[in-house]
Symmetry: D2
Subunit: 292 residues, 4 copies
């Protein structure tokens, strides 16, 4: 279904291998830049240098999940050499669609400058929902590991009921926790209630947090502030899933003796293969749908 | 929390009684129009005539869930007399907020004309989600009643994954059905997958419907058309939950010997008390938040 | 897999048709007694008279789910004539294994007298567990139908945590009820707790029943006695699933205005096809395992 | 509720602290032997020497979860000195009931010799079921940690459907795995089927294991033998929960490149506090029920 599509994968980690394999299976012509150190060649792919003159003619370029640096540096798990993408490279990519997990200013700027369509995969709702599954499993793993009680019978709180919160909360309940969901939208609270969770207005966090053993934060804003932490049990455990710097006042938590952990990038950590497959599937669909 | 608020309830059914009781409990002053036949007076409420001159000074007016007729007629389960609301009535209501389940052109027009804020409760996401619970339970009841197999072990399909579909589908799975979800948005399919359901593109309905024993339609558009029905087992059962006329070609279904049922207004049918409470709770919140 | 097995089906209801079809599919030679009124012949079966001289040579005889009467009468949905099984019939069955749903004294006596192995299917744990599924679905259907509230958000109690209780209770929870389980064995209470239900000692029934909206009784003994009923809300609803006469003091319940329903034979009522399949599958396994 | 009961706790680990605290709360007089190194005294308890002359008059003696050694040695996390229990000690305990997690020959022999009732807590069904919860959570944690895929969407197998298997399998399904249950009893298979799991006869393990990604063994017998392992994917992961030496041919698994892990004592590892509470609760009930 990708017959005739030319795809370049630049840098990345284990997820890229799954992506490359999937695209090859679906008959794309796949080139890899920054993969000199691969143990064994990936059948059906070809290694290329990252020189502007080799970059013409691609239909799609796939950057690492975390995007590229502000100086154009691309990290690769499989290359000792730094990969650098300059204006000349982007100019040569004319005609290609760029795919990345997240996008910083530099990448956005270059794409804009050369009129290259830029698809930010983690901004897509479907990708974010699918990624929420390994995220939730990672959160469960950490919660089991870092506490001396079972999730079953525990008092848990999930803060935020977006893509991650809605994925995590029912899993905690299925494992036997009593789950409070703190959110600010009436429809999020209604959905939480429908799912058998206990909906609570985010505004009531401070007054309702007291009995909670386990807090999972998904809100990327200062939420577990000193005044909230002051109400919590010292034996409570906080797992902050929100993007750095998280929503927790970690210093104050430490002062109060409350263990709090920022846990970024769980999908790549606990399920790189699944995380790669999620990206591979959506990339297949998107590249197949590109106009020739 | 509703101290000082004056509320008028005009017509309605059993749900209105729950609403009235709840508002009284929360200290509103509640008047009822069209309630002459109540078996016993509702403590704390006062019966009023629907004359324009009695309608001044209310903060909120609550119409029946189904709204009012195009001629201004308001149905009441508790009155033998027809209730009629003319322009004069609406003019007298100046200063009040109007609340209704659904709103037809006449009500919208009158509200507009006299500058009365109109809140259409069933358009609210939170109300629709909460109402999806009795809807789903009604659907489950009908499915058990009208088939000779158990939901457990059955092949089910839920078409549409909005407020109702997302509520019904996981319940069917919890009861042991194998549940396919047909939807058209990638994020709906991703969410269905996350929930352990089988996501299928709505476009594949015709080719994937063959093994299905039970179809639950929630899409208010022609979906179960002749060409789809032609692929279904004659022993299949269709429950169409979408608003009238549903999404099923009922004539063709009958011709093929497939049982198909349009099941409107399930919340009022299977759980009037809960349905009333859902409205009462949101009305309390909304009226409390009205500026004085 | 039943090649060469000769099976006689005597009387019964819709479930027997599923049994007959399944056994034929698996290559048994199937004879039917008491099926003159079948609309259409069942392919692969043969109708026989119930005369002693036609009864020799069968490997297996299948009686109705409810067994046979004390006078040897066998009910059949498909025959106008009474079927009578006397000693002469049983004598002629020498060599056959008898299968029945439940067994009264007469059947047990005859089997004993002529040395015929008697398999009481509903006494088998596996059959009872599988039958508990349609039973639970029937209970859920009745509960939705007979109350004005949703199961979701309701306070439910399941009394007894055997084959039916353990099947019903988690389904109620999955639908959003708060489920108390009353049982007397510590291991039943432990299992209920593990499953996310609230375990309560049966001895505490009287003191803990007060908030309950929905009671499902599975204990075939006087459990919902006057002193317990006296503590219940008048708005509560009791569904008694235990074998007749149930565990409820129905007269006292009525006096208190509590609705109480005895609901026997749910599998045959709500899912005759599934119920037939459950029996057909276990009969296939058992007949296949009979020594020739 | 334990007023007047004299309880001696001999050796143990963190779980004993929870037990001691709970018994004190419930008004027992609690003595501790082998607790010299406690950071802080446990309020309400008294430290005692393990001399025969101090052992008279106890109603209950609580040994560590793992019991005592064959030479009478009792391990304690809180004592540098070896604790030794000889015949003289047991003789002095006349009148007491002995409680232990598991019991070896020496403890059984001494109890028998001096007519001391011996309660083996982990042999009790209720304790085993409650302990199955932290066991299942530990298994889930290991499975998330040791694989590069999510449980969601994985092909899992649970072997054995006793106290642990029945606790673990539905949790895996709730997390989105497809769960096969291998067991040998028809009623276990029926229960698995009712729970929405895929029941398979243990005899079919070899032929059905091929697609499985994750195997959880709970059968304490040679089950994952070379011929079964030979059918498995090299990428599969085996978590063996059965008591040592487990049911896996670990050497052969290694040879085939299949990762296999024996994971004993999970409750104490992942949830010592909950594990202690489980014991504390049952001990409270049992000691309270002892005749004076
Ligand atoms: N740790 C990991 O491995 C991992 C994996 C995936 C995602 N993440 C991170 O986790 C976070 C949540 O991701 P998501 O996909 O669930 O996002 P999402 O769908 O946008 O959900 C975010 C939730 O937080 C709420 N929220 C946002 N800003 C808020 C504010 N200022 N005050 C109150 N509530 C606020 C949102 O409520 P409204 O709807 O009212 O805005 C929503 O409920 C993000 O920071 C994301 O980067 C981490
Ligand atoms: N029977 C009852 O008692 C009862 C109770 C409540 C509601 N209802 C009715 O049930 C229906 C669903 O209600 P809801 O609250 O779930 O609505 P909703 O949240 O809007 O969901 C509707 C679903 O149908 C899909 N859909 C709508 N139009 C479509 C079209 N033309 N083609 C394909 N898909 C389409 C939507 O997909 P997109 O997101 O892609 O648009 C969405 O998945 C409505 O008709 C409502 O009136 C009936
Ligand atoms: N309505 C229907 O369609 C339908 C369908 C199937 C079954 N049934 C009936 O439902 C009832 C339950 O069936 P089942 O298969 O679940 O039976 P079961 O497995 O034997 O369970 C019965 C439960 O009741 C408890 N119990 C029995 N006698 C008791 C007593 N005297 N006092 C306290 N508790 C007692 C048992 O506890 P212990 O373990 O402590 O004894 C167990 O928890 C039976 O009467 C059966 O005939 C009805
Ligand atoms: N890793 C840990 O932290 C942890 C924690 C708790 C328990 N355990 C261990 O896990 C194992 C299971 O515990 P449990 O409480 O679930 O035990 P259980 O209730 O006795 O269940 C054992 C299961 O294995 C089956 N089984 C036993 N022997 C068998 C054999 N020879 N062949 C085939 N099937 C056999 C049983 O089937 P039948 O019913 O047919 O016999 C049953 O399904 C035990 O070894 C226990 O010591 C470990």
């Amino acid at each position: 279904m990708l017959t005739g599509k030319r795809v370049l994968i630049v840098g990345g980690d284990a997820r890229q291998l799954t992506i490359a394999r999937t695209l090859v299976e679906r008959d794309a012509a796949v080139c890899l830049a920054g993969y000199e150190n691969l143990h064994a060649p990936l059948p059906g792919t070809r290694l290329v240098d990252l020189a502007p003159e080799t970059l013409a003619g691609f239909d799609a370029v796939i950057f690492p999940a975390k995007g590229i640096g502000e100086d154009g540096a691309v990290e690769s798990l499989f290359s000792p050499k730094p990969l650098l993408l300059r204006e000349a490279h982007f100019r040569a990519l004319r005609g290609a669609v760029l795919y990345t997990g997240i996008a910083g200013p530099y990448l956005r700027e270059q794409a804009m400058k050369f009129g290259l369509p830029l698809v930010v995969l983690f901004d897509r709702d479907d990708v974010a929902i699918l990624n929420a599954v390994p995220t939730a499993e990672g959160a469960i793993m950490f919660a089991i590991q870092h506490t001396d009680i079972t999730l079953h019978g525990s008092d848990a709180a999930v803060i935020g009921f977006g893509r991650v919160g809605m994925t995590l909360a029912p899993r905690l309940r299925a494992l036997g926790a009593r789950v409070r969901v703190f959110a600010r939208q009436p429809e999020a609270l209604a959905r939480a209630y429908e799912m058998g969770l206990e909906p609570l207005d985010l505004g009531a966090l401070r007054s309702e947090i007291r009995p909670v053993d386990l807090v999972f934060n998904t809100v990327p804003a200062p939420i577990l502030t000193a005044d909230v932490l002051a109400e919590m049990k010292p034996s409570a455990f906080i797992l902050d899933l929100a993007s750095a710097p998280g929503g927790t006042d970690f210093l104050f938590a430490e002062k109060r003796g409350i263990r709090a952990l920022l846990a970024p990038s769980l999908p790549g950590l606990v399920a790189p293969k699944t995380a790669g497959k999620i990206l591979a599937d959506v990339l297949t669909r998107l590249i197949a749908a590109q106009k020739p």
